[in-house]
């Protein structure tokens, strides 16, 4: 019984400590984002990695998400005889909800995991210690460019996802299911307002920050991992747990933001 409480306390302390560390980590990074010196080139490199190279995946997933939305939406809407609303249904679901969330999940899988592994390996092989000993700030050098790039990329990727998805829905709706193309876009035009776009934008910004925060911190604090952050296996465990944690956090925050902004 005492053992149980001891364990419980131990866990609680560990998670509190970890939460504190992550919080401080975020503050440190944000502070360095806003204070000089500002460096452009590293940010451009990360924009290429996180943003530009994700475009293909986003294009693909966006297209298919829009297509399946049209397919399913048509089936539902026809029951109420309101196929004309297909355009608004597809656009609103994409812009408000599916665009930011799916794009975020894609970026977690593609770039988030890579960031955790990269930084984790650098931690493991003392490369981060080496940076510190050279009086080079590892946060500024390694992490700040990723932060800036992720927060810039996420809304843009989400926008691409939405647009491609809307056209995917159009293709399925008008070419396969015979909904009038004009009606599709007219309905969308009338029902999508700025608040919807704003919600999508805020979500994507927040998700971008959450993703880069969790994936870089998981790598950076590899040596503090409870399960033992050693060797190749330590890096792989940290990467897995960072992907899981980031995905879950994004979904939780999606709910919270929806609830707040509705």
């Amino acid at each position: 019984m005492v053992l149980l409480f001891e364990k419980l306390g131990d866990y609680t302390l560990y998670y509190l400590e970890q939460a504190g560390r992550m919080g401080l980590f975020l503050c440190q990074c944000l502070w360095r984002v806003v204070t000089p010196p500002y460096r452009i080139f590293p940010v451009v490199r990360q924009l290429n990695f996180i943003g530009a190279r994700s475009i293909f995946v986003i294009f693909f997933t966006g297209g298919f998400t829009g297509m399946v939305l049209a397919l399913q939406g048509y089936y539902t809407l026809r029951k109420f005889g309101s196929e004309g609303l297909l355009g608004s249904a597809v656009a609103l679901s994409l812009i408000r909800e599916l665009g930011p969330v799916t794009a975020a999940l894609m970026v977690i899988g593609r770039a988030g995991s890579a960031m955790t592994a990269e930084i984790g390996i650098m931690r493991n092989s003392e490369q981060i210690d080496a940076l510190e000993c050279m009086a080079v700030d590892p946060w500024r050098y390694l992490i700040v460019p990723k932060f800036i790039a992720a927060v810039i990329s996420m809304p843009l990727l989400t926008a691409i996802f939405d647009v491609v998805g809307i056209f995917g829905g159009y293709l399925v709706g008008s070419l396969m299911l015979g909904v009038n193309g004009g009606t599709y876009f007219q309905g969308m035009y009338q029902s999508v307002h700025w608040v919807d776009v704003e919600m999508g934008l805020v979500k994507s910004l927040v998700f971008g920050l959450l993703i880069v925060w969790i994936s870089t911190a998981k790598g950076y604090f590899l040596h503090w991992e409870r399960s033992g952050g050693f060797g190749a296996e330590g890096v792989s465990r940290a990467t897995t747990s960072s992907v899981v944690l980031a995905s879950v956090t994004v979904l939780i925050w999606d709910y919270l933001l929806s609830a707040i902004m509705l």
Binding site: E118, I121, M122, S125, E126, Q127, D129, A130, E132, C133, M134, A135, V136, D137, Y141
Partner: protein, 266 residues
């Protein structure tokens, strides 16, 4: 009696009563060590005694549970991140596993401290990097990646990177472990050459007894969590401290016997 004789000199690094515990394991139990300006201090001791841990305390990568670590008279255990950074500007480090940036070329590895810490233009940096690689006998390695080099070459790249900014203190963690005799001689030659040229203070952790004695001004044995006397190489080999005697005998056989024994023999 821990220290047989107090070393008297202007200290650049001074460890006073440093203690460090990992979980249940007491690794350092009151380490006192003094590194004098412009000298070479060698820390010897069996594997796993905590030599690298001592080095990490000097570098400010670990904080002691008790005691002080003074660099140029400033206690870095209490220092803020900014002060620590200022102190580290004078450091060069060759890590035990070299810790080269493995996704960068050799050129970028050596150029990194110059790019990050100086305002020199790219051409000047290129010239300086070439010069350093030349000095380390690494011509033509600039475009390769660390994984494409042999262990000895990696150590030399690490040394080039450590010396890039003319540091005042250079730390070497087992610079020759895992290298064959010729390659370790090469590293020692480069060390000797660069120290004569740049005049830095050196702290070396090494197993390479007795060869390392020739290069050192002071030798300190770490055993049982404390420094068992910090002595000149001759004094060290003649010391009567049983732990030091043990160490000397097992690593190099009996070369000198202590004065007392010699007197008894006569």
């Amino acid at each position: 009696m821990r220290q047989e004789k107090k070393i008297d000199c202007p200290a650049v690094i001074e460890l006073i009563g440093v203690e460090k515990v990992f979980g249940r394991q007491r690794v350092l139990d009151g380490v006192d060590l003094r590194v004098c300006e412009g000298t070479t201090t060698v820390i010897v001791g069996a594997s796993g005694e905590g030599k690298s841990v001592i080095l990490k305390h000097m570098l400010g990568l670990m904080r002691p549970d008790a005691g002080r670590v003074e660099i140029f008279g400033r206690d870095i255990t209490q220092a803020s991140a900014r002060e620590l950074k200022a102190v580290r500007r004078d450091f060069g480090v060759l890590f035990q596993n070299v810790a080269l940036f493995d996704s960068m070329t050799i050129f970028d590895n050596v150029a990194l401290p110059l790019r990050e810490r100086t305002k020199e233009r790219p051409q000047q940096i290129a010239v300086r990097v070439e010069e350093l690689l030349q000095m380390m006998d690494l011509p033509g390695a600039a475009t390769k990646y660390p994984a494409q080099l042999s262990g000895g070459m990696q150590k030399r790249v690490g040394l080039a990177r450590a010396l890039a900014l003319d540091p005042k203190i250079v730390f070497f963690d087992e610079p020759t472990t895992g290298l064959d005799v010729l390659k370790s001689n090469e590293i020692y030659r480069l060390f000797h050459h660069t120290q004569a040229k740049l005049g830095y203070t050196a702290v070396i952790v090494s197993h390479d007894v007795p060869k390392i004695f020739k290069l050192s001004d002071h030798v300190a044995l770490l055993a049982e969590g404390v420094i068992q006397g910090q002595l000149t190489p001759e004094e060290f080999q003649r010391s009567e401290n049983p732990l030091i005697r043990d160490f000397v005998e097992t690593t190099m056989g009996l070369i000198y016997s202590s004065e007392r024994e010699e007197a008894a023999l006569q």
